[in-house]
Symmetry: C2
Subunit: 486 residues, 2 copies
Amino acid sequence: MKRHAHIVFLALMACGYPWASTSAQSPQRPNIILVFLDNFGWGEPGFNGGGIIRGAATPNMDRLASEGLCLKNFNVEVQCTPSRSAIMTGRYAIRSGNGTVPLGEGVYGLVQWEVTMAEMLSEAGYATAMYGKWHLGRTPGRFPTDQGFDEWFGVPNSTDESTYSSLPGFAESGLSETFVMDGKKGSVPEKVRPYRLDYRPLIDRELTNRALSFIEKNAEAETPFFIYLPYTATHFPTRPHPDFAGKSGKGEWADLLMQIDSYLGELMAALKKAGVDENTLVIFTADNGPEALSPGETSLTVETAMHGSAGPWRASLFTGYEGALRVPFAARWPAAIKAGGVSDEIVHAMDLYPTLAALAGGKVPQDRVIDGIDMSEFFLGKKENSGRDGFIVYMGKDVFGVKWRNWKLHFKEQTGWNGVLQVYTMPRCYNLLTDPQEVDNVFFPHTWVAKAALPQLEEHVASLKAHPPIPTGQKDPYVPPAALEE
Amino acid sequence: MKRHAHIVFLALMACGYPWASTSAQSPQRPNIILVFLDNFGWGEPGFNGGGIIRGAATPNMDRLASEGLCLKNFNVEVQCTPSRSAIMTGRYAIRSGNGTVPLGEGVYGLVQWEVTMAEMLSEAGYATAMYGKWHLGRTPGRFPTDQGFDEWFGVPNSTDESTYSSLPGFAESGLSETFVMDGKKGSVPEKVRPYRLDYRPLIDRELTNRALSFIEKNAEAETPFFIYLPYTATHFPTRPHPDFAGKSGKGEWADLLMQIDSYLGELMAALKKAGVDENTLVIFTADNGPEALSPGETSLTVETAMHGSAGPWRASLFTGYEGALRVPFAARWPAAIKAGGVSDEIVHAMDLYPTLAALAGGKVPQDRVIDGIDMSEFFLGKKENSGRDGFIVYMGKDVFGVKWRNWKLHFKEQTGWNGVLQVYTMPRCYNLLTDPQEVDNVFFPHTWVAKAALPQLEEHVASLKAHPPIPTGQKDPYVPPAALEE
């Protein structure tokens, strides 16, 4: 509890501090590529015991991990939109009104008041680009190019929408299709083409092509760059690119593993060719756990095959279990991050915002709560501890539980990703080291864990009261109410 | 089906053939150390994505894997005694009357008629030793020193028996305790001390010490040696050695991981020091999947904490699921096995018998069915395929299903290791590549898998009819009936 309070204090103090200048040994600020896969479970890459057992070796992912820092306990929010909200803002998604994926047609996403990672890095002098899936707004004023990205090519919403035009009933619904969009900062992105099943297999190739060009262009201009690369391929419907369809001989999922790994290899080769390999920080991670089934569930259709793997962790995306929360993570930056690092320290997607700010000389906003912790010293190997003891586990807008060190305190239970969410009459307690499947409730005799874990929830709840969350569906402009006493 | 039949044919033809002489490039026959852990899940070692997330890094296990051949699809029988029977004989345990762990006090284990791996290697000129847990007989004539080992130090039965003397009621039961035993070929092993909780944490240290001495002695004498090292530590009750208790700071299981990994390091260092590192084949594997819980089960007592991990695979020991069948496997032999090999080819514990025979110049008996396949060329990297397409999955004496390539055909379902075994009205089919948790029955449309997988079961059943299994509890002497027409 003490430690936690201390960390929050440090995190707030660090806001906007020009870290780069405080550390004489700090290298030049890096180019940054954030590869962000969709619904990609902890158990997929070879570096987490996957690869070949998933149908295809993943040499480039594995190389990224072995030549950099591999985090075994990197956590995200458990749904797509919340996770993307948290990584872009450094804040719990609930604060930004993005606790769940949007299902209706209402306004959603990030209000203009939020300062995204792209805005922060742009302000710090980075050329910024995003290629891929946004899922944080689909209306003018809420596109990536409205939120700090110099350019964007991709889709505003989710990938399942690529099936819409092929489904009976949709054409007569009066609903509009999703479009592939292309835009530059300062103008409304253009609709390039409808996002349909014909383009579904091809899009990630185009995302890669554009990333390759952006690397080349900015390396030549010696402009520091930030590429946010939220690939779409690993989300259903599973449709490998023709270059990879059938290539693994082990099914479409394995083809996709090869495809993504190969694209990663292309990016790394391009960095080398452009002479910026040494000073580029490549982060490889994902938005949430896999599409996978829990016992009793069955695949809905062939299109939603639910064929991912969370490795040893329980369940899938859209649950409060580790299978949703923990995703693969590797960060390679030869000039500054030592090769071969492996850590089980708790890190959350929200932490990337202040961490990248520190590494890139960016300013973290001081007029709002930033839940992320600056872990730059941990990433650079100057500290063994990440500084984070735990976090609140949300399942949508519900507090599912609290993670604290190797323990989880659950208030709720889920039968599966699309199953029933039930409330326990008494919290249950799980030891993740000895029980990665979170099945063995050891609340007795470990009631002490509640004492250690609950203060962070109390602090979080108090902070939400003092700084009320932005309402879901909030339209712009948004003006935050004055902070109440925390 | 064709391929399978061909393999069986080859396996039978290979019996006793002096392989060493057929391959001019073959290296000198190796010393062999078979490290065989107890109830050690696929997900434990770092090389399978475990290690640090299990509480302790496993650098020596990982080194063994990276400097040798790492098999991701190495399979065993799902219980202790059956697995040990299969590895020692190269035959399905059901053939030897060892389909289940013995629970009563009747005669059990291997009849003298069986020719164990130790007898085969002894015959080929190897000095043979076993240090550890046997579980294949506890009566004179059935100890390891009656079955080919020059010497043995360890326990005849299972490790839970170390708790007996501390349990209420046992003292008055009239039952005898298990003893730690020490013996040489040609005499009845001596009872060294009762196997109680005071010695439980210490025994694996002594097993290691004896293995170190055996390495040194035989390396000096230039005698090829075989050490079978079935460690006991990872079976419940979890009791790390005082040298390791508390050392990890992550609980007793993590302490044990450190302990076993450290002993492995000692063995490897001893090989180097004795100058036989290059030409020693060290195999690291386990008897069956972990002690772990399935949803709905709870730990029985603190002593049986059920805290293992099968990694991505379903369930635990004593089930027909992959979590029981797949165990970690690494084989290092610098003189002959290329470093860095990783394979998902199906290999079964039974295959080690003919494979080691081929590598060591031993003779495989020709007067009985050997279910194992000689995979020496696969191990040596001369072939990419193991030659095995699948095997029969037994849960005790029940045929639970059939594994064929990346598919499983299940006839039964289990709620957990100590739960209910139920019979399906129609087989279910699982795709292990896309569904490692074996939850998504895809029998339709994959009925073709039954056509591909069932011939091996039909052949197996025909073979059991032609060569009736040795009855469980069979006393010596055993004389096999004449083979019927297969």
